[in-house]
Symmetry: C2
Subunit: 135 residues, 2 copies
DNA sequence: GACTTAATTGACGTTTACGTAAACGGAAAC
DNA sequence: GTTTCCGTTTACGTAAACGTCAATTAAGTC
């Protein structure tokens, strides 16, 4: 009765491997590979893998990272930031450094995107210009 | 005398392979590889490669594309957009489609970046919070 | 003209991120 | 009770993007 009884319903949601594959548009092979790489750690019901909402979150981070062009080991670094232990100050300072680097890389990426989008705009208008000149 | 005599000075700038390697922080091996892939097409002075400002621009697009996580074939697609021929309307319409897809992908990427940056912010403040609690 | 330095060519090696095929296991449907 | 479906395991295959030699050449320099 004194236990923290209000554990959220979210906790016991579970997913099959094909659930996740469908939702995130990846193959089951890929998901198992991510497990081999230590990025996911599903439970088992018999031989079958059972994924928790924690795995669900992690897979979301993985596919997002992939969309950003990160390698799996970079994705791993990012994921590891999420479950840092309350630990010592050295660790924390190290993490803050990593965070800074990541942020800078992401800001560079965002800048690259802006540049590319601008150039796409001008290519597009050039295209449209030529198209209208063909009529 | 009737020739277009005012060709810009920019035109005859040339670069060695190590010039480019230094400037863009890539290896000469990589640069030659890009040539093998048809992304660069330097001239020759004897056996040595001579890169023009066109190659310079292209290499810039390549490294930017790489920073964004694009594969070389995706980079190729983007580069090819830059030198489209005045051609037929079918081509132009096709290009417009490609541009649209690219833009959507880039916007998705930008969105992913915003999400990740936000999360980095909260991880960072959590970190700082814990650090200050250790004093 | 020997020496160093930069570049080339060719070839094989390597890492990453899965794909693909084979062979098997359990559970549900008919 | 056997087909069908999903999942598992093991293992080999592969494409991309270079790295890493090794042998050769050409260009300057002292």
């Amino acid at each position: 009765m004194l236990s923290n009884s209000a554990a959220l319903d979210e906790k016991d949601i579970s997913f099959s491997i094909s659930d996740l594959a469908r939702e995130f548009g990846v193959t089951t092979r890929a998901i198992r590979f991510y497990e081999d790489e230590g990025l996911l750690s599903p439970g088992r019901s018999g031989r079958q893998r059972v994924y928790t909402s924690r795995d669900h979150v992690r897979l979301k981070l993985i596919v997002r990272g992939k969309r950003l062009g990160f390698s799996l080991s970079e994705v791993r670094e990012i994921i590891e930031m999420y479950d840092l232990d309350p630990g010592e100050s050295g660790q924390l300072r190290y993490f803050l450094e990593q965070i800074k680097k990541r942020r800078e890389a992401l800001q560079q990426q965002r800048h690259d995107i802006e540049l590319t989008l601008d150039e796409l705009d001008s290519i597009e208008s050039e295209c449209k210009h030529r198209l209208s000149a063909l009529s």
